[in-house]
Amino acid sequence: MDYKEIIASYADKPGGIIEAFHAVQSQLSYLPREVIAEAAQVFKIPVSEAYGVASFYSMFSIEARGKNIIRICESAPCHVAGAAEVVQALERELGIFMGESTADGLFALEFTECVGQCQSTPVITVNGEPYLDVNAATIPQILAKYR
């Protein structure tokens, strides 16, 4: 489905723009300008408002980014459990810094706040799927799944 079809499928849902953005993003990895403009049309709101929604929520990106979104939790429980070492391992493995995407477009590396798996800190998610009790040693095999 192209993005216009995806957005159109949510047209009858009151306030459905967030659901629509999630659906488009699962395909495109981010929300390009034309998607935001289309959503504004379909949900009958000004483009500025649609842009306001897209730019407010931390799961949405208005900038292009890698296909597989790796998010490392930096909230206090993960912070004390060693999130910093996991960050270093990820940056080393991927050759990029936090907030960047790999040149081949395969991975994006981001911080997130708590994802609710605090029994198994530190935690990362890849495309929303949680990986628990993560450490520097387990990072390579996790990444291998997506290569």
Partner: protein, 407 residues
């Protein structure tokens, strides 16, 4: 009283959450049947007698809230479940939704009947896509079984905003807007989702209703502390041997939670502090551990029950660093609508970073305390009002740690 008691988690591990037949075999949906045989007034009175108070953090009386929505005149009313669960250290609602989703649906349906609503929404945080899946399947099954009657439930996804745990920000999000809180009053029971009377309750709050209807309000009111009866699910994290969850009566003490249930501090280290209720909770020192965890008991020591997160720190922890990280959290999560929060969280984060990096000044501590006071009374919503608490309480109880970084 130091035994686990499972009410909201009574079906945990005993049923297949994706088989509604299992839930029904355990007596599921009998409570809803009973509720529907009562008048709405009698039902709400029963919930009031139970003295069930909100389990999301605000602790508002559930029956009281429902009576406001019941009394509001409108052809359309809504029941909304707050499943945003953004509070760091907390995953109790995920446990309920993953293991017994029908209990939530039944609780919401009881509320819908009580207030006269035909449409419900579960606002589930975007970070729980697997939970959203489970909820969708559970609703499908409940609908097919016909147990929900004429009450329709839809799941809506959050998109990564801690502030959407605030009920009016959550409502704004369902409406497709930025998650910015509204001025209250009006409160949701009189004007909520799309301006209609709306009940917003937490997952754990709803999940208590079936048991209350089955066993009676008096039974529930007699458990734990009278002012905040029943049980509470606690999720333990940080420097604790048993990094897991427990459901206990509300007269359990913090010390029991940490040492009896939590198994104490790993590697023979000493206890330093525990932050209860989430990332805006107070840091509690050893001297206050014999406090019962119930809402009012915690308020009395300047702490919070909140979501029931229990984040333990041992003696080796740099508590200033932890407080600085939390200050960064609030700067990130501030929605930006009101100036005291938007500016205040940014300044607290900036000052804490300076202190943490060794560039602080003793005058910073007085400034932080003043800023915290101002924010606690001027911010539009609970996020800004509570954000200073971790910094303020660590300055109060661990001044030496701050001085070590400053001098």
């Amino acid at each position: 009283m130091a035994e686990e008691m499972r009410i909201v988690l009574r079906n945990y591990g005993k049923i297949d959450p994706l088989k509604i037949e299992d839930y029904i075999a355990q007596g599921g949906y009998k409570a809803l049947e009973k509720a529907r045989s009562m008048s709405q007034q009698d039902l709400i009175a029963e919930v009031k007698i139970s003295n069930l108070r909100g389990r999301g953090g605000a602790g508002f009386n559930c029956g009281q809230k429902w009576s406001f929505a019941y009394g509001a005149k409108s052809d359309v009313k809504y029941v909304v479940c707050n499943a945003d669960e953004g509070e760091p250290g907390t995953y109790k609602d995920r446990l309920i939704m993953e293991n017994d989703p029908q209990a939530l649906l039944e609780g919401m349906s009881i509320c819908a009947y009580a207030i006269g609503a035909k449409q419900g929404y579960i606002y589930c945080r975007g970070e729980y896509p697997q939970v959203i899946d489970i909820l969708d399947k559970a609703i499908e099954q409940a609908t097919a079984k016909g147990v929900l009657g004429d009450f329709n439930i839809e799941v809506r996804s959050g998109a990564g905003a801690y502030v959407c745990g605030e009920e009016t920000a959550l409502i704004e999000s369902i409406e497709g807007s930025r998650g910015e809180p509204r001025f209250k009053p009006p409160y949701p029971p009189s004007q909520g989702l799309w301006g209609k009377p709306t009940i917003v309750n937490n997952v754990e709050t709803f999940a208590n209703l079936p048991a209350i209807l089955e066993n009676g309000a008096d039974w529930y009111a007699s458990i734990g502390v009278a002012s905040y009866p029943g049980t509470k699910v606690f999720t333990l994290t940080g420097d604790i041997n048993n990094r897991t969850f427990f459901e206990v009566p509300t007269n359990t003490t913090i010390r029991e939670l940490i040492y009896k249930f939590g198994g104490g501090i790993p590697a023979g280290k000493k206890f330093k502090a525990v932050q209860i209720g989430g990332t805006s909770g107070a840091f509690i020192p050893e001297s206050q551990l014999d406090t019962p965890v119930a809402f009012d008991n915690m308020s009395a020591i300047g702490a919070t029950l909140g979501s029931g997160a229990v984040f333990v720190l041992d003696e080796t922890r740099d508590i200033v660093d932890v407080a600085a990280r939390i200050a960064g959290f609030f700067e990130h999560e501030s929605c930006g609508k009101c100036a005291p929060c938007r500016e205040g969280t940014a300044r607290i984060a900036e000052i804490m970073e300076n202190i943490n990096d060794g560039f602080g000044d003793l005058s910073d501590l007085a400034l932080l305390k003043k800023l915290g006071r101002v924010m606690s009374v001027s911010c539009l919503c609970g996020l800004g009002q509570a954000a200073p608490a971790p910094v303020i309480t660590t300055i109060e109880h661990f001044l030496a740690d701050y001085q070590a970084k400053i001098l």
